[in-house]
């Protein structure tokens, strides 16, 4: 097996909120190999987007980030600011959720391309840059005749393809796609997913596909990481996890989706926690139906089962004493919270 392109260890991203630090990403570890697509799923507010931005080094003012992000053999967090900027775009690209507002309205599409190429590959001649840009656009189905148009002259789906082309033109090794289809209609969504599959075949970058749509994960990803309240609670190959989810949250998440065989809708009781004051120990314990006393007191270990990894005491019951194993009813949880 080749060395991973991206190797993230114990990354934390806390950003400043009006009532204190928001622990949006609090210690996540994962790795991505070349050509691999990792789906990152979770409810809104679980820290998925912050994780993606954190990888890119795009954190808001006042935010703090630590741990280690090893990319292409270098630890990004210890790089000087200037070199960090060079990696952004050239080494790793970001595709956004809402394509409508992501292109500068005063700039022609052509100017967007020449700008990034000039910044990252200053040696490129004007003609070469043009050829590169047109190639990238053509591979995404944007005809060269539209090269000198302004963003507002394109539809949402076309703008998203332009955004992808803008990311691809630098041939990055790693792409973060942050809900790239959420703002688009179903037909365009299918189109974009096809394009992503196409990109995999042609350029084989590592892709982190952030989404809340498990259908997309099933269709487009090799592995999946489930995020809850700033932690990756379970990760592993898509098939395995969909077949045998180990973490109660993963199970609940899979249960709450609608499919042809759905007989009744399940929802997860309770609300996602406040990340300024997250629950103690396991963050899911206030909503977990199998909650035990230990869940509120001691952080659960990450346990490896076959090719899956999950962070749950249920998988390590042999390490809990009898008192810790005592079930905790949901009503008791607030009390446990205060303790």
């Amino acid at each position: 097996m080749s060395a991973p392109v991206v190797d993230v260890r114990d990354m934390r991203v806390w950003y400043a909120g009006p009532s204190g630090p928001v622990q949006a990403v609090d210690g996540v570890t994962f790795a991505l190999r070349q050509g691999e697509v990792l789906g990152l799923v979770g409810e809104s507010g679980s820290g998925k987007s912050t994780l993606g931005r954190g990888l890119m080094g795009l954190v808001p003012r006042g935010a703090a980030i630590d741990g280690s992000i090893e990319f292409d053999g270098r630890d990004l967090l210890s790089l000087p600011k200037k070199e960090r900027g060079r990696v952004r775009g050239a080494g790793m690209g970001l595709i956004f959720q809402e394509p409508m507002t992501r292109l500068d309205p005063l700039m022609k599409v052509s100017k967007h391309f020449t700008e990034v190429l000039k910044v990252h590959e200053p040696k490129l001649s004007k003609d070469e840059a043009r050829i590169r840009a047109l190639d990238a656009l053509r591979s995404l189905g944007i005809p060269p005749t539209r090269y000198d148009n302004y963003p507002h002259e394109f539809s949402g789906g076309m703008r998203q393809r332009i955004m992808i082309a803008l990311a691809l033109v630098l041939r990055p090794k790693f792409i973060v796609a942050d809900e790239p289809t959420t703002a688009l209609d179903v037909l365009v969504e299918a189109q974009i997913l096809r394009i992503l599959a196409d990109i995999r075949e042609r350029y084989a970058p590592a892709i982190l596909l952030i989404t809340h749509n498990l259908g997309i994960v099933a269709e487009a990803c090799d592995r999946v990481a489930v995020m809850y309240a700033g932690r990756i609670v379970e990760q592993g190959p898509v098939r395995d996890i969909f077949a045998t989810p180990r973490h109660p949250y993963t199970r609940a998440l899979l249960n709450s989706t609608i499919s042809l065989s759905t007989r009744e809708l399940h929802s997860i009781p309770g609300a996602p926690p406040d990340l300024v004051r997250p629950p103690t120990a396991c963050r899911f314990h206030p909503r977990c139906e199998h909650v035990m006393r230990v869940c509120a007191d001691v952080f659960p270990p990450t346990v490896r089962v076959d090719r899956q990894e999950a962070e749950c005491w249920l998988l390590a019951t042999d390490r809990i004493d009898a008192a810790g194993r005592a079930p905790l009813s949901r009503q008791e949880v607030p009390v446990a919270d205060e303790a």
Binding site: R12, A16, P18, T29, G62, D66, V298, F299, V303, R304
Partner: protein
Amino acid sequence: MSINLPELEGTEAAVALPTGRRHSRVPGLDAIRATSGFQRGMLVAGALIVLFFTVVAVFAKLIAPYGFNDDRHGGKVFGRLVAPSSQHWMGTTSGGEDVYSRVVFGAQTAMEVIVLAVLLSIVVGVPLGLLSGYFGGWLDRVLVLVTDALFAFPSLLLAIIVSIAIAGGSSSATGGILSAAISITVVYVPQYFRVVRNATVAAREEPYVEAARTLGASPLAIMTRYIFGNVVQTVPVIATLNAGDAILTLAGLGFLGYGIDPSAGAEWGHDLSKAISDTSNGIWWTGVYPGVAIALLVVGVTLVGESLNDVLNPLLRTTRLKQVVLPSRRTGEPTQESA
């Protein structure tokens, strides 16, 4: 053209979002509580300046050593253009009057005119805006057109023309506090009209107003009970910001020989117009003191108005987020383990 109050950044937004929130009985305290740091400093400093000038205006007769038109005291003539001394703290004017006394009485004139002008423009502008916005139709269109035209016109020229009209061509009727206030009122009525009208038009479509209408509330009841309460929140902001502008307009009128008649009261702008020719002889005290008085009062009023604007407009409110400092890792942090 929708934003026509360049001094009021985002007032439109504040108007467009009537919250229906009730303020406490003491609006000033509310405002102070809602601010912090620099904004609170601005509000307090502005309020102190305004308070200072109010005290000076109210007790002008006690504070000023001489009358504003006196060129002698107890039979002793002051002399013209006497430099500041223990006798005349701020020197004397080219007419031989005590500058200090004129500055003090000038505060009285300014305060009287401004309070009157602001009240008059509210009394005229707010109901006009309510009626126009609520009923719409041709009257609304005509009023909007007229106020737009007035608004686009240099306010000083407008005030001059009105003050000529009030004077009726003869100088005997000019110069009173009331006529100066009316000239200024004409300038500011369009502003209240616009803001209140636009807010009313927006509020008219609000569900709660619609509900009141379906329940058979009379237009008068709807306007006074439902719309006025929301619309009126922005009036204090406009009123304070306009008051600052009105001081400048009054001074401009005085500078050009309009507004307050020299025999009716001391007026800073008038004194400055006399002082311009003194500058070529290097005489500064006749102009600097009244000039500083104008600037200081306008700064005070503007600071209050801006802080109120910031408070009412959450978009502008300063929320200083503290830089996050990541705590060291939790002890007992789980490490990778295999089951």
